[in-house]
């Protein structure tokens, strides 16, 4: 339809040119550095092809870099991870559930209006246990508790509901989660409305254990994060690494900006400059660095006047 084509805001090429090529390449590189687990809690090394499974996605773990101690520790922790035993139900099918049913990992309560409120009771349970407890109630819900940086603990960081029925309402618990050391409390959950059909997937952030890489992160400078209160403006790699050492924080990777390359490296010249940082794992960050004090700025194409913004 010609009229609609006329009012297309941008073409694909124009949209792509609104981002720096380095930014787009970095995004892909950072995404592919994220670890992925198999649903049963098993792990597979990078390079081995995942088998296709019918119901579940077959996913594989990619250790970050061979020899990186954090990755090795992650695999070791995973190998020692004991999953909660599967709950077997003695209940005959057809019996109604009482108003509050406390299962091993999840607590279900019926809400007025016919919905369900579900709270996580064991945030460190194997995701297969959550899945099974939902499945017992004919709910196609995948709930996962994943390690995240401190400012995201207790919040939702991923949700997908491809169906077109009524949606889940997440229940968050920011500030009320304590999983790594002393406790295993992180009372997040979902409200399931009557008429919910699924499927749905929801990932909550829990505190990371030593050696676990964060699967989602807030700003490295937010309260609770490794670089809270630090200023890196105009500082060199040597200066920043020194300040981090005082805080018992190390650098997992340097992410090189600018035309000299892309990707993650383990060492850069100390005289290079630090532009930004991301949390990486407990006690570890990733630094964005480059040889010049200023990061490259965008160049407007020649001959294009910059329109003044309205309102």
């Amino acid at each position: 339809m010609n009229e609609i084509t006329r009012i297309s805001p941008v073409t694909d090429d124009e949209a792509t040119r609104m981002a720096r090529p380095q930014t787009l390449a970095d995004l892909a590189n950072q995404i592919t550095a994220m670890p992925v687990e198999t649903p049963s809690g098993g792990y597979r090394l990078a390079g081995q092809r995942a088998g296709r499974s019918h119901k579940r996605r077959a996913l594989l773990v990619v250790p970050l870099v061979a020899g990186l101690s954090a990755a090795a520790a992650f695999v070791a922790v995973a190998g020692n991870f004991t999953s909660a035993p599967h709950v077997t139900s003695n209940r005959a099918s057809g019996q109604a559930l009482p108003a509050t049913q406390t299962a091993q990992a999840l607590a279900f309560t019926t809400s007025p209006g016919g919905g369900l409120t579900v709270i996580v009771r064991d945030p460190l349970a194997d995701p297969a246990v959550f899945r099974a407890e939902f499945a017992r109630r004919h709910l196609d819900i995948t709930l996962q508790m994943r390690p995240v940086s401190p400012s995201l603990v207790g919040s939702v960081f991923y949700m997908d509901e491809p169906g077109n029925g009524p949606h889940l309402v997440p229940i968050t618990a920011k500030g009320a989660c304590d999983t790594p050391g002393g406790g295993d409390v992180c009372p997040v959950g979902v409200q399931i409305p009557a008429g919910f059909r699924g499927p749905a997937e929801i990932d909550f952030g829990r505190a990371a254990r030593p050696g676990e890489q964060y699967v989602s992160t807030g700003s490295a400078f937010a309260p609770g994060e490794a670089m809270y209160g630090m200023s890196i403006r105009g500082e060199t790699v040597t200066e920043v690494v020194g300040q981090l050492r005082d805080r018992h924080v190390s650098v997992a990777y340097f992410n090189v900006q600018g035309s000299t390359g892309n990707g993650l490296v383990h060492s850069v010249p100390g005289g290079w400059y630090v532009y930004d940082a991301d949390p990486w794992a407990p006690g570890q960050v990733m630094l964005f660095v480059g040889p010049t004090e200023q990061q490259p700025a965008p160049t407007p194409p020649p001959g294009n006047p910059v329109p003044t913004p309205t309102s």
């Binding site: 339809m1 009229e3 609609i4 084509t5 009012i7 297309s8 805001p9 941008v10 073409t11 694909d12 090429d13 124009e14 949209a15 792509t16 040119r17 609104m18 981002a19 720096r20 090529p21 380095q22 930014t23 787009l24 390449a25 995004l27 892909a28 995404i31 592919t32 994220m34 990078a46 390079g47 092809r49 995942a50 296709r52 996605r57 077959a58 996913l59 594989l60 940086s149 919040s155 939702v156 960081f157 991923y158 949700m159 997908d160 509901e161 491809p162 949606h167 989602s216 807030g218 892309n262 991301d278 949390p279 965008p298 407007p300 194409p301 294009n304 910059v306 329109p307 913004p309 309205t310």
Partner: protein, 201 residues
């Protein structure tokens, strides 16, 4: 609906090098990303009025793709699968379920610099006004056809319905659009009204 104009762009050649032929998950993702990132950027940027939202939705779409790589069909269908994910992620954002991803920080910074509201002629403003009066699902149908250039079969894949359903709904959407266009005042009267309406976005 997105309010973006052809504003500043970034100079520089692509740093997305073609992947070495290989089986590995990373190589498969990089190949798909190289083939599809422009289409996803265009799709999302055309439908968001905020650079922050656009960056988060784009990053989340590709993160989903990485996590569910086995489900992504091979080209050319991969693009349609990605539009479906982007559409649902956008819907989450509009419902208020926004998640700021650190992953998207640099993209957010870039888009915040280059984002500009579009400058429409009087006639285009008239079309925009009529388009906005349509319900969201009709706008999406017309946009997938006119902006992404998808045919009915491809739209059916993105929306998860049958081709025949697309055909029927498209007929209704076009009819509605024509009637809205006919009811909007002629350009001569529209000049100052259009500027007022734009200012409220």
């Amino acid at each position: 609906m997105c309010m973006v104009s052809k504003g500043e762009t970034w100079k520089g050649e692509s740093v997305l090098s073609p992947p070495v032929a290989s089986d590995s998950r990373q190589d498969r993702f990089q190949a798909m990303y190289q083939a599809c990132h422009a289409a996803v950027l265009g799709y999302v940027v055309r439908r968001t009025a905020s650079p922050e939202d656009a960056a988060d939705v784009i990053a989340e779409t590709f993160l989903t793709c990485w996590r569910r790589l086995e489900e992504v069909p091979s080209s050319p269908e991969a693009r349609l699968w990605l539009f479906g994910v982007a559409r649902r992620t956008l819907a989450n954002h509009h419902r208020g379920e926004r998640r700021r991803l650190a992953l998207a920080d640099r993209l957010r910074d870039d888009l915040a610099i280059t984002y500009r509201p579009p400058q429409h002629t009087a006639e285009e403003s008239r079309i925009v006004a009529a388009f906005r009066r349509l319900p969201a699902d009709q706008r999406e149908l017309l946009a997938l056809n006119a902006w992404e250039g998808l045919d009915y079969g491809q739209i059916a894949v993105v929306l998860g319905c049958s081709r025949n359903t697309v055909r029927v709904r498209m007929f209704r959407a076009r009819k509605r659009m024509a009637s809205e266009l006919a009811s909007v005042p002629a350009p001569a009267l529209w000049g100052s009204l259009a500027r007022t309406e734009m200012a409220h976005e």
